[in-house]
Subunit: 237 residues, 2 copies
């Protein structure tokens, strides 16, 4: 009566701690993306440099969480839903780390564009603002779904990625039109295009996290399946 529950309770605490660390990492990544977009829109070179300087914080979370997950695998030998949780966290941090990289790249471009005062195209800044708000909302909701292992919410967020992809394609078409109308805008428009692409990729990573959450909650991999099919199979359960 005194050893078994103690071990199990320590294990629960370890799992809870590492889960909380992943949610904290998600919070930092969200802040990094928000600040990178703000640095671009203001423009604010100091904020851009702050984002670039904080990228190691995101990387540090990834390394620490991965070590703790491997430690749990080695010492606790989790099975069933505990094992799924550890796998979900390991996969989630890889996507969060890549989102952090995108924030850092956007901040890099905010610096490069700020110097030449090139980012004075209000239509482009509006496109980026709309896309970034959407992607940030996806990230927040994906992390909430992870916190609650909520498959229904995860699938709703994943489905929304198509809206972001459409926004991206529209922004791309508008950028190509600007370039054709005025070839002097080509260089800044190419920068803008990479920023739009980075935001679109942030949405893809949020969608990946949602797929892991569905796996966590439902116990089966839904990667590479059409979302409508996944939704039906979840509701059928």
């Amino acid at each position: 009566m005194d050893k078994e529950p103690h071990i199990s309770q320590r294990f629960d605490e370890e799992l809870h701690e590492v889960h909380a660390l992943v949610l904290a990492m998600g919070g930092v990544v969200e802040e990094q993306i928000t600040n990178a977009i703000k640095a671009l829109q203001e423009p604010d070179a100091e904020l851009a440099r702050e984002v670039i300087g904080r990228d190691h914080e995101v990387n540090g979370y990834e390394v620490r969480i991965e070590e703790e997950c491997i430690n749990i695998l080695a010492t606790r030998q989790p099975a069933a839903s505990d094992l799924r949780l550890v796998m979900t966290l390991i996969k989630t941090i890889a996507d969060l780390e890549r989102m952090g990289d995108k924030a850092s790249k956007i901040a890099d471009m905010a610096l490069a564009m700020g110097h030449g005062a090139r980012n004075d195209n209000p239509a482009f800044l509006r496109d980026v603002g709309v896309m970034a708000d959407y992607a940030l909302n996806m990230l927040r909701r994906a992390m909430d779904a992870l916190a609650r292992a909520d498959a229904e919410e995860a699938i709703a967020v994943a489905k929304g990625d198509e809206v972001l992809n459409q926004e991206y394609r529209s922004a791309l078409r508008r950028l190509i039109t600007y370039m054709m109308e005025d070839p002097r805008t080509i260089t800044p428009a190419i920068d803008a295009l990479f920023i739009a692409k980075a935001i679109e990729r942030i949405g893809d990573h949020a969608r990946n996290i949602c797929e892991y959450v569905i796996y966590l909650a439902k116990g089966k991999s839904v990667r590479h399946l059409p979302l409508d099919e996944v939704e039906q199979s979840i509701q059928g359960k």
Copy 2:
């Protein structure tokens, strides 16, 4: 004498099987990239469609290998170097799957560009050819390093990624020059730019695999460390 070694031998076989599956997946991805580039250069619409149609094969490998790895974690509770191998394989297949996606996207663009007979810019095709050969060589060498858990080779390949990044930046500058000289080339040049970017990303994924191989061989994570530092610490061992 008859139970322990038997279990251990079955376990070795399981690990060996899943390792072999990952190497086979690497071979398919290499073929997909090779064919996508060929479909673009010829151009060959049928080959492009074949690449797109075979993407599910790459995805199938990812799902199957991940299931087998989770099964090994759940039933064999591997520790130390066995656990590192399983983690390395789980991470490697995520990068291979993304490289497969890039091949499929290049094939998509080969189809789109082929219709308009736009890919008749020999300088661009040469750039893509050079970059693709380099990226494919990185992938092949990364998979060889994985097969032999060879940290020295992995670090050599990872360091080479900077060469590919430079090739990419040069190609990007040339594309921007074409667009400025002749704005009618803007649309095909944007397609070309995304193809160059996809190849550059394939190199990043090969580099990621190399970092996992170093972790596998040396037992410590080298993600986010400067490669020169990693090299010194490996040689110091």
